[in-house]
Symmetry: D2
Subunit: 180 residues, 4 copies
């Protein structure tokens, strides 16, 4: 069982990363900071004659790093009550990979994975972040990914998350589950 963490935050050492760190401490994981890569927005080519066009960016290299792992942690700050646009752009591109001959097994491979979501927001995340959780459920359902759990933490200023005892406890429980 190996883990990839896909980070959607745009600020180093943000609260979401801090909370995620609790969940993976002492565990070797593949860390993918989406902000370090160039990912184009999808151009919907499903209904054009030419179909999707090859895109010259880092997206495929990220997919290559994600696919070998059994567990995916989507770690995103809550921006405007949803995942960051950076993470959304990444997921939007899955529509292209689903039609990419080079990744003919993409859906099948993804369907064998387990997913967790860790997200921190500053404006009542345990209420206003719920639609985002429902969206992740729909996304995972579509791909056949098993949605194993999520943590919604509260924080705004750096370090705030350390005051959210429930979120920290849940992250530690996650970590215990990973090492057992």
């Amino acid at each position: 069982m190996t883990i990839a963490v896909i980070y959607g935050g745009t600020r180093p050492d943000g609260n979401t990363e801090t909370l995620t760190e609790q969940a993976i401490q002492g565990i070797k994981v593949e860390k993918i900071f989406l902000r370090d890569f160039h990912i184009q927005s999808i151009i919907d080519g499903r209904h054009t004659e030419e179909g999707f066009q090859a895109v010259d960016d880092d997206y495929n290299s990220i997919i290559d790093r994600v696919l070998p792992h059994d567990i995916l942690i989507f770690s995103t700050p809550i921006y405007w009550y949803s995942m960051s646009g950076t993470m959304k752009n990444f997921i939007d591109r899955w529509s292209q990979t689903l039609r990419d001959e080079k990744y003919a097994d993409f859906k099948k491979q993804m369907s064998q994975k387990k997913a967790f979501v860790i997200a921190v927001g500053g404006d009542d995340p345990t209420i206003k972040g719920l639609p985002m959780i429902q969206q992740f459920q729909h996304i995972f359902d579509f791909m056949g990914i098993s949605f194993e759990g999520y943590i919604l933490g509260e924080g705004n200023k750096p370090g705030d998350i350390l005051n959210d005892k429930n979120a920290l406890f849940a992250a530690n429980q996650l970590q215990k589950g990973f090492i057992n």
Copy 2:
């Protein structure tokens, strides 16, 4: 009362545009196709010493086109059960504008607007698109924008939306409201 339509789709003449066209036929509107512009993902600078850094892209020019209008129509295909990453990136950047001295009145100006959402999806949009509607509600609530209504249409292949009688009717009702 003037209208700006903010399009989040990445495919010309997609179903969402077709449906939106029903709602604005015969009305002079400002059409903003986000896909035609370069909009960087936000870099969260809220908690750095330097704060947000000026970004050399088209984002501000879009805000300048949006602000004069009274009614905003957010017109987005449903990608992965939410607005497109393209539109999300645009909205994420509002966090920067909220702290931009050049737009000191941004929130106040936005709070005087009315908003509509028009969205088309292929996978059970009237159910699986609901979390997105709830997110728009939260976004508009935060800004003080009045959320006046939404239309969720169903369509996948080009032209599909023309079979969604309820969505077309609702779009026509919207149009009647605009011209009266």
Copy 3:
């Protein structure tokens, strides 16, 4: 294809009934007004030695009227952002029927049905009624019922619903679908 309408309202000729009437005009349907019957709240007997106890009320007779039909319309006013307690009590009792030898095929029979929800509320129903729709989706998913569509109408005082053009149109579309 025969239709049963299960009414959860407590007021004769309320807005929800008026809207529902649009959807079934000219069609012979089985009308079940839950308010006319005595339905006890469920007593959870799943984990007691004796199990569920026979209840002396009208509930089973309603189930007997529901089961023969192919299409179920759940027609409920939105009370406090959800179905009426009257309708909730009725659905809660399904847990008992699922364990009732007299209805050994209950889940199987229900799973062959199609369901619609028609609901009218006075406080922003197309937004604040959405969690109720999601709950109906979960309920129907559990039973294997196909959720074919819903209409959320707005109204408070008697007759208000006649001003909700979108809801009336959608109800008429439903009716056309039923008679074709």
Copy 4:
């Protein structure tokens, strides 16, 4: 600061009660088991000439016990992805109290309270229980009640909840907050 716990469960010593017990251990609270009382479904009398009619049941006596307290804990098993019909019937009746001269200050008094929700379900409650949480938010918003937090626990058979470490921790945190 005094606390009333309003129990919606129909089974003594169910998982929801066990979890709630963690949150109130060592604290004197007013326990109201709705199942022990006779509460009629509401008869919507808002638009009749006579208005709401006096109901001969235990409802008002429960309101009398609720009103003196500062904190309300709504403790309900998740039946069919929502609060129990028993609890829903109780809340539905608030519509009558809002128009009852004997309780002219009902909304004002309620608006000064803080509320918590504790709910346990057996079918993926942290996902499928989310619409119920959103409904409680709408209910509390309408009344002006401050929604201070919720716990969604997982359990089916008696005692199951003791395996939900996150829920137990959150309940203990709640308890610490109450005694400080």
